[in-house]
Amino acid sequence: MAQDSGTRTLISHAQLSRGRGRVIYWTLLIVVVAGFTLVFLGPLYWMVTGALKSGQEIAQTPPSLFPKDPQPQNYIDAWNNLALAKLLFNTFYYAIGAVLFQLVFDTAAAYSLSKLRPIFGNAILALMLGTLMIPAMVLIVPQYVTVIDLPIVHINLLDSPFAIWLPLVANAFNIFLLKRFFDSIPEELMAAALMDGATSLRTLWSIILPLSRPILGVVSIFAVTAVWKDFLWPKLVMPSPETRTVSVGIYAFAGGTPMNVVIAASVIAAIPTVIIFLIFQRNIMSGLTTGSIKG
């Protein structure tokens, strides 16, 4: 036990490291590790191996734990029949665009609200934060009506990636997260840059942004996973088969496709986010808690 000097929790370390406490602690730990593995990893195992089974094997009772005669054919069928390459490419394209748009516009806005503080800045921030109170489902209809006929310019954004990118810029949570990070950057650094005659843009580029890499990373990861997980909005604004995202595409094919193939496609659709999570889990978890704890 390396970090024993850490904070004390519900039950003291001393109690857990001797005699009966120790036995209970280890038993409970093993039970919980085994239970959690079963509950959270078990279904994923079932999903990956189930998609390897033949149609007959999946319908047999009791179900088999290992596929008797693994059939990678389901995965190949999923890839070909559902045109997964195209769907994955679309989703990836929307995700990357979403990251770029959010980084450029939300960072600029947060920088302005935190450091430049123009007149009415606080009122604008309050109005932005107010949107956090409005549930997405309430806005879905008027948002859709707006997207199919943008006010003043009268452009229809259906099937255009901008229909996904631009609404995501209106993300008060990101602006709040970025602004709070920028607030923690000392004012003296700004003043020094101003004395050197740097413009606001230059200060943002060469002083603020290099210091903000961690939070920019968090915002980017959230943007990618949000696009990857979203369902109803892309389903509405990307109606053509050529522009669908991967989740919507699988849903559209689910009716007329053997269920093992649907599951195989679901596995493939989940791989990118799972990989992102395993690589960036620290950033994701810290970003999640930064936003909520202090406030």
Partner: protein
């Protein structure tokens, strides 16, 4: 411990801090106007997106709910959309189902993550592994996870995962999504499995902020584990607990993708129809965008009511 966001020290400190530590004090009118213009120039991109995709739709939703568009002609119809929506027999079923889901989801998805976090916080081993496990389902696309539940877990024959387990334990099997009674509990289980990771991590972070002396003092006073949870852990995390309750109510009231995928929308005997699904039905299948907008406004009012109660309750506590 809070995850603090302290910036690292700059690599190129430039020149030493100037004697004028704050902004240079040249406040000519021209300068002020220019500074403000620069500030707004940085804001304009995000503000435009908020105007077009958030603030304007908010107002438009309310306006639309009092209008009717037929063959390209829009007229004011007063409360007609509201009375039509309320007269729809699915309206009350949808609200009943949604409230039922919210209550079940609170019972399961609110209590369980808290105790999971309390438990994980006691462990000195395998912490990272357990945290990754709990959060893993959150990263799956909901459609993928729900197809897994639909085809493999809730298969009504005995080849389904849950029925196979029940049978192995000699318990009665279930028809799951094909039985009106089991539809909601089955959706809550799937939804909790997919979503609880976020709540667990947030609780874990707030548990780590509780000063250890409080537990020590409680123990010296002879408080057992359960009393320490009730008198130390819960009061110390009550702000986060209250906030999460509110967030969860708002999230579960928007129940949509679970009925759509698991129950093909309405489910057995309308047991899965939710308010959000009804909005979708009216707006995009029955060609009644105005009615859908009215239903959206009703949902907003109900949620605002919950928020008001929440603000009242939390304001009293402090």
């Amino acid at each position: 411990m809070t995850i603090t966001t302290v910036p690292e020290t700059p690599r190129k400190p430039g020149r030493p801090p100037s004697p004028y530590s704050a902004r240079p004090q040249r406040t000519s009118l021209g300068r002020k106007v220019r500074d403000n213009l620069t500030g707004h120039a940085f804001l304009i991109g995000a503000v435009l997106c908020f105007v077009v995709f958030s603030w304007y739709p908010m107002i438009r939703g309310i306006v639309m709910s009092f209008q009717r568009t037929r063959r390209g002609e829009t007229t004011w119809v007063g409360w007609d959309n509201y009375s039509r929506i309320i007269a729809d027999p699915s309206f009350w079923t949808a609200w009943q189902n949604t409230f039922y889901f919210t209550v079940l989801a609170l019972a399961l998805g609110y209590v369980v993550p808290f105790f999971v976090a309390v438990l994980l916080n006691e462990f000195r081993h395998a912490k990272g592994y357990l945290r990754i496990l709990v959060y893993l389902p959150v990263m799956l696309p909901p459609a993928s996870a729900l197809f897994l539940f639909k085809f493999y877990a809730y298969d009504p024959s005995e080849a389904g995962l849950f029925n196979a387990i029940l049978k192995a334990l000699h318990l009665p099997t279930s028809q799951w999504m094909q039985s009106p009674e089991m539809t909601m509990p089955a959706m809550v289980v799937a939804s909790t499995w997919m979503n609880m990771g976020g709540a667990v991590l947030i609780y874990l972070a707030s548990l780590q902020n509780i000063p250890g002396e409080l537990y020590e003092a409680a123990e010296l006073d002879g408080a057992g584990i359960w009393r320490r949870i009730v008198h130390v852990t819960i009061p110390q995390t009550r702000l986060i607990l209250a906030l999460m309750a509110m967030l969860q109510i708002v999230a579960t009231m928007q129940l949509f993708i679970e009925p759509l995928i698991l129950a093909n929308g309405a489910g057995a005997e309308d047991s899965a129809t939710s308010v959000a699904y009804l909005i979708y039905q009216h707006g995009f299948f029955q060609n009644d965008l105005n009615g859908a907008a009215a239903l959206g406004v009703i949902m907003l009012v109900v949620l605002a009511g919950f928020s008001a109660v929440y603000v009242r309750l939390t304001a009293k506590q402090d």
